[in-house]
């Protein structure tokens, strides 16, 4: 197992470890710092907070925001809201899967893209919608979605 730089989480723990009920907040910071929630960091959290590792694992696997594995450079969050569904989000999902060869929750072999279905992003009027690294893409068609992915790939190759 890769070892994480535990010193990065210490300030977060200094701030929250003693405050009851802050486990979710701590895990959110952990994910911000490391991109996901590494196991050794969870043990560190356990040491500092006194919360058992089993409980931390329970919380980390309950909420869909948390990831226990690193993700690709581009995180495609495909909205699963009702409006998106009515406007054909399933076809967008199929097009993405077809283009990248990954299904929900998976990352491409080159580590470039991760696909994640998410609950409503709240941009219902632009449905169907996906969000990639904070940028929202609306009124998608399968073609348009594929185009966006290809341009991101190109962009990363040029870097």
């Amino acid at each position: 197992m890769m070892e994480s730089n535990l010193s990065k989480i210490e300030p977060v723990l200094d701030r929250y470890a003693a405050e009851p009920g802050s486990l979710i907040t701590i895990l959110q910071h952990t994910q911000e710092i490391y991109g996901y929630i590494p196991k050794d960091v969870m043990y560190r959290i356990s040491e500092r907070t006194g919360i058992t590792p089993a409980e931390i694992m329970g919380v980390a696997t309950f909420y869909s925001q948390f990831r226990l594995k690193p993700i690709g450079r581009y995180l495609i969050m495909l909205c699963q809201g009702t409006a998106c569904h009515v406007n054909g989000s399933e076809k967008i999902a199929a097009a993405i899967t077809n283009e990248l060869g990954i299904s929900d929750g998976e990352t491409t072999d080159d580590g470039l893209f991760s696909l994640k279905s998410v609950a409503c992003l709240g941009c219902c009027s632009l449905s169907p919608v996906m969000m990639i690294n904070g940028e929202t893409y609306g009124r998608l068609t399968p073609d348009k979605a594929v185009e966006i992915l290809r341009s991101l790939r190109k962009e990363s190759e040029n870097k």
Binding site: P20, G21, S22, L23, I24, T25, L27, Q28, I51, E55, G58, V59, F62, Y63, S64, Q65, F66, Q80, G81, T82, A83, H85, V86, N87, K91, A94, A95, N98, V118, A119, C120, L121, G122, C123, C124, S125, L126, S127, V129, M131, G134, T136, Y137, G138, P142, D143
Partner: protein
């Protein structure tokens, strides 16, 4: 002149931030102030740019692109016609004019990041009134008079909850705002926080005063980063201005406020699950009773309301409970905000008095169905709600009347569907959602929703069998009865309401292996009518799997083995040659 860009999440998604930067450069050196506001709810017209002069809106420009920045600069510089093609039409203007805005009254009007804009529009006046001239009991009395009911879904009288928490013994009490807007089709709470955060803070402070809480917490979905950052700003501004903290406005009333970001779990919309989550635990509902009013956050008396509920409070205090109660029906008072989406022409946020009909919202305000197709149903209440068919379009917006249809008022998601939406697939969509979001604690919900989903899955794949509808109904009733919390108890609603109104669609899937809406891929087959095909090759170019062959000007054919039933050919054919069976 003041140039105001609408920067709600969906405005930004539509390109408002790019428009803003374009304007920054275009207006460089021009005598105009560039600023932004939240979301005015006209999502179908985003990005929107308002041009104001001396406090008056003189031009509302819609679907603005960064390329239009120059035109706006030209207009500011005196070219009166420069933005003519961007101006909102009279018809679209009516979208807002036909609404009655209370909860959304500042949305898209003020800059949400400036407390002074809020105070300039009577902001924090209600708080001052409460703290200086009213007892908590009087506040609760006003809310009782107003008839305000919980806008999160269940419609429980707000005063009753406040009173219960007030009456609960104990010094330490909490006021919690549920901003974990979970219905995948509702976004009014996000709009309120992004566009008018101080209104929420003010409403919460009044509530905290009423129940005797010294701490208030906003539980916001993590998917709403913009809302969180604007609310953070607003809280620190309010603290600085003395609206939050010790002895607020010198009244001796202390209250602090903080934000807790959720981490993605629909079930946390359920009060007790939300409390568990606030305590850093898995969001699994507690047994009720005890209710949060008696034992909530850290097992202290707590009161939870949702964003829209709080957004009405300051208005009610300022205008009186009677003014609020004057709107609406016998059972449902005031206004309600709806997130109108789906196959409707004008999608966005609609706030109207209770008692208006669904037809008023969808046709009068929403402009009817896209491409003038036939209206089929409207989904209300999201995963806990149901589908209301065309025959019930004249149902009034009223908690009881909507419940009678099998749907619920819910948080106000209103997803419009036309003839291309398969109702069985719709039910499957919601069950997929609830099954994924079930916390897994109680048996009825954990396994029941999974089994319902599997049955629906079979039906949309053409593998349904005789008796499936009855079995599905039986399971639905059992889950309604046996599930522990609201999520499970209402999860069967989308299934039951679609069976109730669209049983024939279920039967067509099961008995004839046919999807009347031509939507369920497994039940479709595409073919090309050689008589109608002109050999334009468009379909074969669009086919993602190369299943269409043919030469120019000769009829094309589809290899049904290779076809993935995506419908691209059907959509692109200009001659109606692609047939769906």
């Amino acid at each position: 002149m003041k140039i105001v860009v609408g920067e709600g999440s969906c405005g930004i998604a539509a390109g408002a931030a790019k428009v803003y930067s374009a304007l920054e450069s275009a207006l460089n050196g021009v005598n105009a102030e560039l600023t932004f506001t939240g979301c005015n709810g006209m999502c179908f017209l985003e990005p929107i740019v308002d041009i104001c002069d001396k406090g008056n809106l003189i031009k509302r420009l819609v679907r603005v692109t960064p390329g239009d920045a120059g035109k706006i600069a030209a207009f500011v510089n005196g070219d009166g016609d420069a933005v003519k093609d961007l101006e909102i039409s009279d018809d679209d203007k009516a979208f807002l004019d036909k609404q009655t805005r209370i909860a959304l009254r500042h949305c898209g009007v003020i800059n949400p990041e400036k407390i002074e804009e809020y105070t300039a529009t009577d902001g924090y006046k209600a708080l001052r009134k409460v703290l200086t001239s009213m007892t908590p009991e009087e506040v609760i009395e006003v809310i009782k008079t107003s008839g305000l009911a919980g806008r999160g879904g269940a419609g429980f009288p707000t005063w009753f909850k406040w009173n219960a928490a007030r009456q609960s013994p104990g010094e330490e009490k909490y006021l919690i705002c549920n901003a974990d807007e979970g219905d995948p089709g509702a976004f009014m709470d996000r709009a309120v926080i992004e566009s008018d955060p101080h209104n929420l803070i003010e409403g919460m402070l009044i509530g905290a005063y009423a129940i005797g809480a010294k701490e208030a917490i906003v539980y916001v979905r993590a998917e709403y980063p913009l809302a969180i950052s604007r609310l953070e700003k607003a809280i620190s501004q309010a603290e600085e201005a003395g609206y939050l903290g010790d002895s607020i406005l010198g009244s001796g009333f202390n209250c602090k406020m903080r934000i807790k970001a959720g981490a993605g779990a629909f079930v946390c919309g359920e009060e007790t699950a939300l409390i568990e989550s606030l305590q850093g635990e898995r969001g699994m509902p507690r047994l009720k009773p005890p209710f949060p009013a008696a034992s909530g956050y850290w097992y202290k008396p707590s009161n939870i309301n949702n964003v829209e509920t709080f957004a009405n409070v300051s208005w009610i205090i300022l205008n009186g409970g009677e003014a609020f109660a004057a709107m609406g029906t016998e059972n449902s008072k005031g206004t309600k905000v709806f997130a109108l989406t789906g196959k409707v022409k004008k999608g966005g946020l609609v706030e109207i008095p209770m008692g208006k009909t669904l037809r008023d919202v969808i046709f009068d305000i929403g402009g009817g169905i896209k491409e003038d197709k036939e209206f089929k149903a409207v989904q209300m209440g999201g995963p806990s709600g149901g589908c209301i068919p065309a025959s019930l379009l004249d149902t009034r917006i009223d908690y009881k009347e909507l419940a009678a249809t099998g749907a619920i008022m819910g948080s106000g998601g209103m997803v419009v569907m036309d003839s291309s939406t398969c109702m069985v697939s719709m039910a499957r969509f919601f069950l997929d959602f609830t099954a994924k979001e079930s916390c897994g604690k109680c048996v009825h919900c954990r396994i029941g929703t999974k089994r319902m989903l599997e049955m629906l899955d079979r039906i949309v794949k053409g593998k349904g069998k005789d008796g499936d509808i009855e079995l599905l109904e039986e399971l639905c009733f059992a889950v309604k009865d046996g599930a522990l919390c609201g999520l499970g108890q209402t999860a069967p609603n989308p299934v039951l309401s679609t069976i109730r109104y669209f049983r024939d669609e279920y039967e067509a899937h099961i008995n004839e292996k046919r999807c009347p809406a031509h939507s369920c891929g497994d039940l479709l087959s595409y073919s090309i009518d050689p008589a109608a095909c002109r050999g334009c090759t468009l379909c074969s170019k669009k086919c993602p799997v190369g299943a269409i062959s043919g030469t120019v000007k000769n009829p094309h054919t589809i290899d049904s083995e290779a076809c993935v039933k995506c419908g691209s050919c059907f959509n692109v054919c200009k001659f109606g040659a692609v047939k769906v069976n």
